[in-house]
């Protein structure tokens, strides 16, 4: 053993006697009490919540979901009882309230009476959150309440998940129906689209027809106008007819009278005609004689005519020849002869003229009238015959006329009666025609209105046609939209729907991964309790060991040797502390170390650092003030090391001193060696602790050198602990 590593007699003095040995045991075991005992007690509080008595009240009155009865409260109660998260005690509301008040139960969970109803309401018209009521009493235990809140958050999450799943499933069923409905609606919209197409074409036809109707109505209006005019005439005519018929009746009456007279007259005529017949016989004979004489006259006339014509012609030839001779004598110079001839001629002509010979034209006319004379004669003859026959006939006919006139008289009598009736009828007709006239005027007006209306109808029908086109477009859009909508509503199988309900009921799940994972409270707190224990252990150690051995100060040994003489024995105790504590924590309490070697080495570093730091404080400040300072430092470190709550949650003061105190680094480093995930923070911690260790030893060494010179205060301390 090198001289400087000697621990001197500092530890040997504890070898003998019960109390010194107990003292060493205390030094070694105090960290165990702090570290292991705390860890043991707090090892797994959350894992033992099933021993925490909690009242559970199921006041749920149930409800119905769809057609099925729903007892969500009972369901939740069963789940909670099965879960064994807490020591559930099913009880009633009064007992629960009393129990929470007097501490029998740490807190009470009540499922309210409308729990099922609220859950069922999820698919209904008035969805309401279902609530679970929790009554805490921090007077029972604040931490129990805190743990309970955590547990209840989990319960809430689990219950929400399972209960919500059912509710969401109902909603999804409805959604599936909605999808079907959408599909049906899409079909219907398509049908509507087709129908509106038909409607459109029909409406177009209507429009066309209405246009035609408008035309027709217009014509109807015109016609009815004409009709009105006609009925005006008709009315007038009927009036006239009525008066005419009256007149006719009168006339017919008189006609009947007249006809009776006629019948008389005709009878007499017939008689007279009979007489005439017999008197015409000589006339016939004479007529035949006239005819024969005319014939003879005609023949002689014709012979005279011919002779006259020949004479005339011969005279003309003579005249022509004499004229020619005259002309030739004139030409030949014999004007006297010519004059003589011409004289002769003129005398001749005057002679002829004086004769008054019928001219050819007169002859011809006379000749032309001859046949007529002959014809007339013959007609006269025939006429006479006919007259004779006719008179015979007349006689017969006059008889007939008499009888006929008699019949006419009868007939006209009837006509008079009929005309009277006609007059009545025509009066009626007149009245009717008047009505007809006003009616036809109404008709004309109506037809005009009809014409206007049908025009409007035609326009309206056009608009209807346009509108139905738009209806068709709209129906198409509706059909498309419904189809899209239907496509967007998930088409779930039952299994998919169940999955979806599950996901919707708890849409967000935590998928956490751990870089390093502490097994529980114990492991989480170990990095805090171990340095704490070591710091207290170091304090205990320095209560029993001498930080700066005065015997060494009495020698000329260098300061650092004195410091080592004080430090090394304490370090030996510290090593024992670390060994015992880590051993018990590992094998006894069950702490698993991510890296055993690293944890041991780091813990040793922590122990050494704390020992050196406290040694330095006691060397610098003296034993009494040094111990007070150590205790103060302990408190500061407890509050600021971030071993329990993250230092960021502490007030600014602790955040400020956090990086200045070595326990912060001890906690950080131990976290990494125990829980795992060692990174730069571990090496920073090692570096800081190493620096504190070396610095503390250096200061102690310097101070020890100074301490070789005593002061009165040290020789006779005013205060000693």
């Amino acid at each position: 053993m090198l001289s400087f590593t000697s621990t001197g007699t500092e530890l040997r003095r504890f070898r003998r006697g019960l109390l010194p040995r107990l003292a060493v045991g205390a030094m070694v075991l105090v960290p165990l009490l702090y570290g292991a005992l705390y860890l043991w007690a707090f090892w797994d509080p959350t894992g033992n919540l099933d021993r925490l008595p909690v009242a559970l009240v199921d006041a749920d009155e149930g409800s119905t979901l769809g057609d099925e009865p729903l007892h969500a409260g009972a369901q939740v109660t069963d789940e909670l009882l099965d879960s064994d998260d807490l020591d559930w005690r099913v009880t009633d509301a009064d007992a629960a309230a009393a129990g929470v008040a007097d501490g029998t139960y740490y807190f009470a969970v009540t499922i309210p009476s409308d729990f099922s109803a609220d859950i069922a309401s999820a698919g209904g018209d008035d969805p309401t959150d279902a609530r679970i009521e929790v009554t805490y009493n921090d007077a029972n235990s604040f931490l129990a309440s805190t743990l309970g809140r955590t547990a209840m958050a989990q319960v809430q999450s689990a219950v929400s998940s399972s209960i919500g799943e059912q509710a969401v499933d109902r909603v999804l069923v409805g959604l599936g129906s909605a999808r079907d409905g959408f599909a049906t609606a899409a079909d219907g919209a398509l049908t509507l689209r087709a129908a509106s197409g038909d409607l459109s074409s029909g409406a177009h036809q209507v429009a066309d027809g209405a246009a035609s109707a408008a035309d027709g109505a217009s014509r109807l209006a015109d016609g009815s106008q004409t009709l009105a005019a006609g009925t005006d005439s008709l009315a007038g005519g009927a009036t006239q007819l009525a008066s005419g018929a009256a007149t006719l009746s009168d006339g017919a009456g008189r006609t009947a009278t007249g006809a009776a007279s006629l019948a008389d007259g005709a009878g007499r005529l017939a008689q007279g005609a009979q007489d005439a017949v017999s008197s015409t016989v000589p006339l016939v004979d004479g007529a035949e004689a006239v005819s024969a004489g005319v014939d003879e006259l005609a023949a002689s006339t014709r012979t005279n005519a011919a002779a006259s014509q020949t004479l005339t012609a011969a005279l003309r030839t003579l005249q022509a020849s004499l004229t020619t001779v005259a002309q030739q004598n004139a030409q030949a110079g014999d004007l006297a002869t010519a004059g003589g001839i011409q004289q002769a001629l003129t005398t001749l002509g005057t002679t002829v003229e004086g004769l008054h010979l019928p001219t050819a034209a007169e002859q011809q006319a006379a000749l032309g009238r001859l046949p007529a004379l002959e014809q007339g004669a013959r007609d006269l003859s025939a006429g006479a015959a006919d007259l004779h026959a006719g008179l015979g006939t007349l006689a017969g006919k006059a008889g007939e006329l008499a009888s006929g006139a008699s019949q006419v008289a009868d007939g006209t009598q009837q006509v008079a009666a009929g005309a009277s009736q006609l007059a009545d009828g025509a009066g009626t007709l007149s009245g009717g025609a008047t009505q007809l006239r006003s009616g036809s005027h109404d008709l004309a007006d109506g037809a005009a209105e009809l014409a206007g209306g049908t025009t409007t109808l035609a326009q309206g029908a056009g608009q209807v046609a346009d509108g139905t086109d738009q209806v068709g477009d709209g129906a198409q859009q509706l059909a498309d939209g419904l189809e899209d909508g239907a496509a967007q509503i998930p088409d779930d199988s039952d299994a998919t729907r169940a999955d979806r309900a599950e996901v919707l009921a708890s849409p967000v799940a935590l998928d956490s991964s751990d870089v390093a994972r502490a097994e529980g409270f114990g492991e989480g707190f170990a990095p805090f309790f171990i340095p704490l224990a070591l710091f207290v252990g170091a304090l205990i150690t320095w209560l029993l060991l001498r930080p700066v051995p005065t015997r060494a100060l009495g020698t000329p040994a260098a300061g650092w040797r004195t410091a080592a003489a004080g430090f090394l024995p304490a370090l030996a105790i510290g090593v024992a502390q670390v060994a015992v504590m880590l051993g018990v924590i590992h094998w006894g309490v069950g702490l698993q170390l991510d890296t055993a070697v690293g944890t041991i080495a780091f813990t040793l570093l922590v122990a050494a650092t704390f020992l050196a730091l406290q040694q330095m404080l006691m060397a610098v400040l003296g034993p009494a003030a040094g111990k007070v300072a150590v205790l103060a430092l302990l408190m500061l470190q407890l509050a600021s090391s971030g071993g329990t709550y993250p230092v960021e949650t502490t007030p600014a003061f602790f955040r400020a001193i956090h990086p200045l105190l070595p326990m912060s680094y001890a906690v950080t480093g131990l976290r990494q060696t125990i829980t795992g995930g060692a990174d730069g923070r571990l090496w920073l911690s090692v570096a800081v602790l190493g620096a504190v260790l070396v610095g503390s030893l250096a200061i102690t060494s310097w101070r020890a050198g100074r301490l070789r010179t005593w002061t009165l205060a040290r020789l006779h301390p005013a205060l000693s602990i």
Partner: protein, 286 residues
């Protein structure tokens, strides 16, 4: 030793001096009655008559004094201790003996204005050098031995501190212990190294502490509170061994509470006697 001692002289402000008397078997009377000497120290040479050889002073002090917050601790003191002699500092408990001895050993700083040379080194400036050459023994609270430890372990601890850090310090066997402690114990049988301290006789315990102090081969050895060896016969043994050490060349300054200690003990050579009659607890000897 609790007698109040309000010295009128001090109240008058007159400087007080310890009279260093030699060869006087009688306790020095309280200097209150003495005519006030000058402030120069009266140093009576221990060696009678003319000096056969030039005396080398191990300790030379003038106006050596120390006061703390609670008043005067010791001094002013003028003293000269020749090399290789034994000086006995007498004074009541709490009279500043330990402080004076520590001051002489370079372990305490006197008041400004004190002039002190120890082993040729001016103090307090050259404290470190004096600390190396001056050893302490018998100081309560400084070189106390842990009682449950064996003699060998105690010796080994001291040897370890005194040897270079890189050198091994073997277990102390009886022979090593004999070489170390023999000059101190002299004729007295050495305890076994395995003996526990609490089994040691008061004398052996005291001698052991002196032996440990001599392990650093000091030129000056200061031994406090020889009275801790309560039995006067055994104390005689201690004094004899201290005389022997002084005779062997180590200047020894030892303190004792009893004012008549020098007178009551037997000496080969009457030691230089230094009486601390000032200080908070100084009372005139009865």
């Amino acid at each position: 030793m609790t007698t109040p001692h309000d010295h009128p002289q001090r109240a008058s402000g007159a400087p007080r001096h310890h009279r260093t008397t030699t060869t006087s078997p009688l306790p020095t009377t309280a200097p209150t009655a003495a005519p006030a000497p000058t402030s120069t120290a009266t140093v009576a040479d221990a060696s009678p008559g003319a000096d056969p050889a030039p005396t080398v002073l191990a300790v030379h002090a003038e106006q050596l004094r120390l006061h703390g917050r609670r008043g005067v601790v010791y001094g002013p003191v003028d003293l000269e201790v020749p090399t290789g002699t034994l000086a006995v500092v007498q004074g009541p408990q709490g009279g500043g003996r330990s402080s004076l001895l520590l001051t002489l050993a370079g372990r305490m700083v006197p008041d400004d204005g004190s002039r002190l040379t120890v082993l040729g080194e001016p103090l307090p400036r050259r404290r470190t050098a004096v600390q190396r050459r001056a050893a302490l023994a018998g100081f309560a609270g400084i070189d106390d031995l842990d009682e449950s430890v064996s003699v060998g372990d105690v010796v080994r601890e001291r040897l370890a501190w005194l040897s270079p850090w890189y050198r091994r310090t073997p277990r102390v066997d009886q022979g090593t212990f004999a070489r170390l402690a023999g000059p101190v114990f002299g004729e007295r049988p050495l305890p076994r190294t395995s003996t526990l301290v609490w089994d040691l006789d008061e004398v052996d315990a005291m001698l052991l502490r002196v032996a440990l102090a001599t392990a650093q081969h000091p030129d000056l050895l200061v031994v406090d509170d020889v009275d801790q060896v309560h039995d006067s016969r055994r104390r005689q043994t201690v004094w004899t061994r201290l005389e022997a050490l002084a005779a062997a060349g180590t200047t020894v300054v030892a303190s004792v509470a009893s004012l008549d200690e020098v007178a009551r003990m037997q000496w080969a050579t009457l030691p230089q006697q230094i009486t601390l009659a000032t200080g908070p607890h100084a009372v005139p000897a009865a």
